[in-house]
Structure formats: C-alpha cells, structure tokens
Symmetry: none
Subunit: 222 residues, 4 copies
C-alpha cells in the first residue's frame, strides 16, 4: 500500500522504449562530463534524463555499462566518418589533414564527446577492460587512420619520414588538450576559449613544419 501517487492529470510516464537508451546516454554524458565517473550518481543521470533511478537499470545493467555504451555509440561513429574521408581522397594529403582537424575541431569545440576520453583516461586504472576497449576501438583505430594518411604523405614526398604512429599522436594531442581545456579549465578563462582557433593554428604549424622538414630532407639528399 505504499504507492499512492497523487491523481495526476498527466500520465506519470509515456512509453519511450526506443528513444530511452539514447536519452539516457545523453544524460550520462552530461553528468559524467560535469562530475566525473565516480562522482556521478546513477540518480543524477536518471534525473538528468527525466526518469528515476530504476529506469536506468531497465536499459543498462550497470554504471560501467553506460560508460562502455558511450564509447561505442559516441566515439566510434566519428572514426567511421574519418575513415570515409580517407577512402574517398586523392591528391595531396596536407589539405585533407587540415580538413580532418577542422572537422574534429568543431566537435571538440561544441559537443560533449570530449568528456569521454577524459573519463576513460581518468578511470583507466579502475576499469582496465574499458581502457582496453577504448584503446582498441578508438585509439588504435584513430591513430591507424592518421598513420595511414601520413604514410601517403611520406610516399608522395609531402612529409618527412617519421614514425607515423608518433606523428599520429602529435596530430591529435592538441585536439585532446583543447577539448580537455574546454571542459576543465576554460571556466576560469577571462575570455571565451577558442578551441577551433587553437586547432587551426596547430594544423598550420604542423603541416608547415612537416613540409619544411620534408624539403630539408630532400635538399640534404640531393
């Protein structure tokens, strides 16, 4: 006899079965992003999604599963898009590299997905499986794509012959830092943080540096 909701005019809930998982993931991303993984209570996530605690468990068996689902549904698709860009490309690769960075910059500057790598990094010690999954599905694949791009540039003489996996990390580092900055420290900034501008400068300096090094090397050989 403990459930006596006041007689509402509106239904207490509506069937949302199909939309729910996605809404919950949005809510979880927002909550994790605000508080970090450990400090995010399931109830916070639920409230953010406009449901109650129990409902979350109808869709995800555990908190960890939510984080896993976030990685899978929010990051992997972005890599699919980058892969498609690579597949369809011909000609000099530096412009493509800039374009990719530009595209990524927009996401990093505006969406919450940057919170996901931040979470995974922070919790890698506690959830080795998630770290391993992220490493495989996101990092290895992402650096693989960038390395492939870079190799094409080396082959065409645009870029110098540096270990592509290391270059891939150098390509992505400022992107991550920009994103982390935005969600972590930008609140203390006097003026709005320009993530996109930062990444554009990065792309400029990087491609120019690579071209210059390639030219140096060509000259040295001749």
């Amino acid at each position: 006899m403990r459930y006596r909701p006041a007689p509402f005019a509106e239904p207490r809930w509506r069937r949302r079965k199909d939309a729910r998982p996605c809404e919950l993931l949005d809510a979880a991303l927002k909550t994790f992003s605000d508080k970090g993984y450990a400090a995010a209570r399931m109830e916070d996530i639920a409230r953010q999604a406009g449901v109650t605690k129990g409902t979350v468990y109808l869709y995800f068996p555990s908190k960890q599963a939510i984080l896993e689902a976030l990685v899978e549904t929010r990051l992997v698709p972005n890599l699919d898009r980058v892969e498609a860009m690579l597949d369809g490309h011909h000609g000099p690769v530096a412009p493509l590299l800039k374009q990719i960075l530009e595209t990524v910059a927009v996401r990093v500057a505006e969406s919450d997905i940057i919170a996901i790598p931040k979470l995974v990094i922070a919790e890698a010690g506690n959830f080795p499986e998630i770290a391993a999954f992220y490493r495989r599905q996101v990092i290895d694949r992402g650096t693989g794509l960038l390395a492939r791009l870079y190799r094409a540039g080396v082959a065409s003489g645009e870029f110098p012959d540096i270990d592509p996996d290391q270059v891939a990390k150098l390509i992505i580092a400022p992107v991550l830092i920009a994103g982390i900055w935005r969600v972590t420290f930008a609140r203390f900034d006097a003026e709005a943080f320009d993530a996109a501008g930062l990444i554009r400068h990065h792309a400029e300096i990087l491609t120019r540096g690579l071209r210059a090094l390639a030219a140096d090397a060509a000259e040295a050989r001749s």
Copy 2:
C-alpha cells in the same frame, strides 16, 4: 565520495618529522597514479608508505589536502627551474625551447608527476578549488613562462606573430599527452613507449614549422 572541504584557510599540511610528509606524498602519488583519486583509499596510501591510516592524518588533514600538497611540492618546483632557465638566457630562443622540452621530456618519461595533472583534470569537476589552484599555480604560470619565451622569439623575428598563449598550449600539449599515454595506455603497447622520442619529434616539427611560418611572413611583407 563527496567531501566538500573547508576553503584554503589552514596550512595544507603540517611538517612534523621532516621525512614523513615527503614519504607520504610519494606514496600518495604512486597510489593516485595507480587508481585515480576517488579509488585511492587512504589506507592504500598509508600502506604504500608503510604506516597506518591514522598516521596519514597526523600530517594531512584530508585526502584533498594531499592532492593539493602534491601539486605544490611536485609541480611548482619544476616551474621554478624553467623560470631560472629563461632568466639566464640570451640569444635565439628556439634552442632554449628545445632544451626545455627535452628537460621536461625526461621527467614525463620517467617520473610519476604526470599523474598529477591527470588527477587534477579528472577531478576538476569535484574539486573546483584544486582546479583553480592548479590553474593559477601551474597552468597560468607555465603558459606564462612559455608565452614569455615565445614573445622573445616573435620580437627577434624567429617566430611568427601568433597568440603566445595559444602557442604555449601547443607547445605543451604533446608533453601532456605523452605523459598521460605512458601512465594510461602504454601498458597495452607491444613495444616500449618512447615518450622522449615523441617529444623530440614534436620539438623538431614545431620549431621548424614556426621558423618556416616566420619566414613565410617575412617574405610576404617584403
């Protein structure tokens, strides 16, 4: 896990016997580094230091105070050193920049201090005061030093005229990523991760790119 702390009024840690606090901080760094802030139990830290839980509280009033002390004692001195390098420098700045990165690279590759920014980043949402403190004492000061260096390069015509604060972030980004990588994902690497090499490549590409852009600009002006 939400322990809202009193604001920074009292000293962040007490010095009793001289060696103890430092040993405890080493232990804490190791423990935080392994498990993250939230998952590191005071008892873990104590055991790592070879004492019992209660003893930790003789030296630090709270878990948060330990993190604060870590920032103060482990990061700030490094900045002092960089500042000294800057103060004593004359002539072209690119070599100094490389030297600084080289120096930092060694620490990042070998010591555990990289865990500190990682912790601060991860916990910024939960401990705004620590984030603010870190922002002020480490980031602002660090980027300030790098910006000062960069401005010298711009003044001498070595570097192009880009916002020095943004360049400072680009200088440091790969360093952070290298460090984070080492303590987070390197365990999954087939071969040993070469943080120092990565940072050396970074220094190379960055300084070459900056020089080239400066030359481009000079040419455009003429």
Copy 3:
C-alpha cells in the same frame, strides 16, 4: 524486502479464468521451492508460469497473498482427506496410522508441497499472520487429527497413555524432515534419497514402540 501487508481482510486471491490462478500457484510453488520466499522474484514466478509480471497481479494482490493461497489450496485439502480416512475408520488404529503415513510419504517423496511448510517456517518471523494462519489451519488441525487417532488407540489399549499432542508431533516429525531433506540436501547425496523408505521405517519403529510401551504398562498394572 519488508512489505508489511494489510491484514487478512480482502479475499486472498481472485478467480478470473479458472485455470490461471492454479497455474500461477504451481509456478509459485516451484519458484519458492527453488529459491526460497525472499529470493523468488515475482518475475521469476511469472516467467515460470509463462506470463508477465503484471499478469500475476491480476490474480494475486501481493507476493504474500500467493504464499497464503498456496497454504490454503495445497495443504488444507490433504488434511480433508486424512479427516475423511479417520471418519470412516473402525477397529485397531495402528494400521490406519501406518496407512496415513504411507499416504503422506508418497506426497512428501514426490510433490513439491513440502516446500510450503519449509517456506512458512523460514518466513514465520517476517509474516506472523501467515505463521498464525498456518498454525491454525494446518498444524493445529493436523495434530488434532493425529491426536484424535492416538486417543482412540489409547482408549483401546493399543497405545500407552502419553500426551497425544506430543505424540502427534513425533508422528509427523520424520515426515517433515524427510521432505525438507529431499528439497534441501538430497542434491548432495551420492545415491537417491528414499523418503518413502524412511517414513516406512519410522512407522514401523513408532508403532512397535508404542505397542511395546502399552504392553509394558499393562503388565506393570497387573
């Protein structure tokens, strides 16, 4: 897990379609028998019956009501049968006692109803009303019947003059233990547990002991 129930005011279950309640009770008995009362989820019961959770509530207002209905529908009828046997009996009572034990033995050895007393015993602390109901409807009535039987034996000189209520408990004890054994520990037995055999031995020893004691007493008196 504490659902303090309204007292027995309303009917303990409703009859809609005729077959459903019985199927649900079968399913509930099976589920309670496997997991115990507390650990049996309504969903388990529903699934066992091939319906969904909500359906169970169409027939029974609560989990407790299911247990009550089990007691009423599965145990009480057996007592009706025993009563009928007593009503129709003439002559020496020892054979009737054996026959009753034999009849009961078959049920205990084969059906799941033994789970019901087991449940009631286990949950008596939490559901005093069920315990009281069971006590009244099953135990008092059952021991009453056996005591009546025993008194007839005492009157005819077959049995010694012992408190019939105590003898009733002694008659039934091995039956309960056999049943509990079967559903609780028999799974660990190397060879199949012979509940019927145990009860047959019990009947043998008990009736022989009673007869001998009666003879002893008669001899003492003479």
Copy 4:
C-alpha cells in the same frame, strides 16, 4: 568536518577486538533467529551487538560470512562433544542414545542454536556453498556419529538391522522439529512448549521400538 560527536563523558567505544567477533556472532544469531537471514539487516545485527554497521565489516567481510561463522563456531563444537561421548563409551548403547538425546534436548530447549539449521535450510537454495558446508561439517558428521552408535547396537543385538543412516535421521528428526517449533510456532501456544519432554518421549518410544523389533527379529530367526 562532519564528525562532531557531542563531548561525551564516557568514551564512545572501548577496544573489544578479542571479544567482538563472538559478540557479533551472538547478535547475529539472535537477529537471524528473529527475522531470518534475508530480512536481517546488517544494521540490525550491529545494533543488537551495540555497535554500528561499519564495525561488523571490520570482523566479517559479508553477511554470508557471518552465517558461515555461525555454523562453524556454534554447531561444530557440539558435535565434538558428542563424539567424545561415543569414544568413551562401553556397554549397551541404548542408554547412551538416551543420554545424547537428553543432552541435545537441553540445548534445543534453551539455546538459540536451533536457529542455525533453520537458517541453513531456508537459505540452502540461495547459498549452495553454505548448504554444502553444513551438509559436510554438520549433517554428515552428525549422522555419521549416530550411525556409528547404531551400528554398535546392531552388533550387540540391541537394535534391529536397519540402514543406520536412515535411523540416524529418525533419531534426530524430532529434535529438529522440537527446536523449530520452539522458535517458530511456540509463541502461539497456550501453555509453555516442553521441548525436553517431547524429546524424552521420543527417546523412550524409539529405543523401546528398536528393542522390540530386535527381539521380534531374534524370535523369527530362532
């Protein structure tokens, strides 16, 4: 700053390290006995012992571990005692059997240990390991001892040749039922329940029955 107990005159606690586990087990037995395993909250047990929840976990890692410890510390020693009685015995076994039952009767009538088998029986489905442990350490050993006793009686001609394991169960059944009755249904009794008397009658009828059957068999053979 969350722990500000009012300045007590008395110490908030006293070191009880050695006594605690035993006190906690007493409290747990009482609590389990009142409410059953599932319904007993750790906090109930703690309060019963005069400590708080957390303290219980200093001594037992889980609720299940408490139940295991109860079996080990409260039942096994009783079996040791019975074994000692057997070891030191010579002559006819029927008196020893009566003596053992008498001894056990006292415990069953007065102590709470009967709650332990009741718990194990109720929770066997949920904690197969505990059931298996109990089966091995208590049941198998207990019936083993009784079977050994019975075999001696068969050898000496006191008892008829019935499967000793079955007889062991028949010996013990009324003891268990008496105990279960006392803690489960006796509260509804009009007059005080006489567990010891019940077991004494049981011993009487049982030994008389066995002797009579042995005599019958001897006669049949001759």
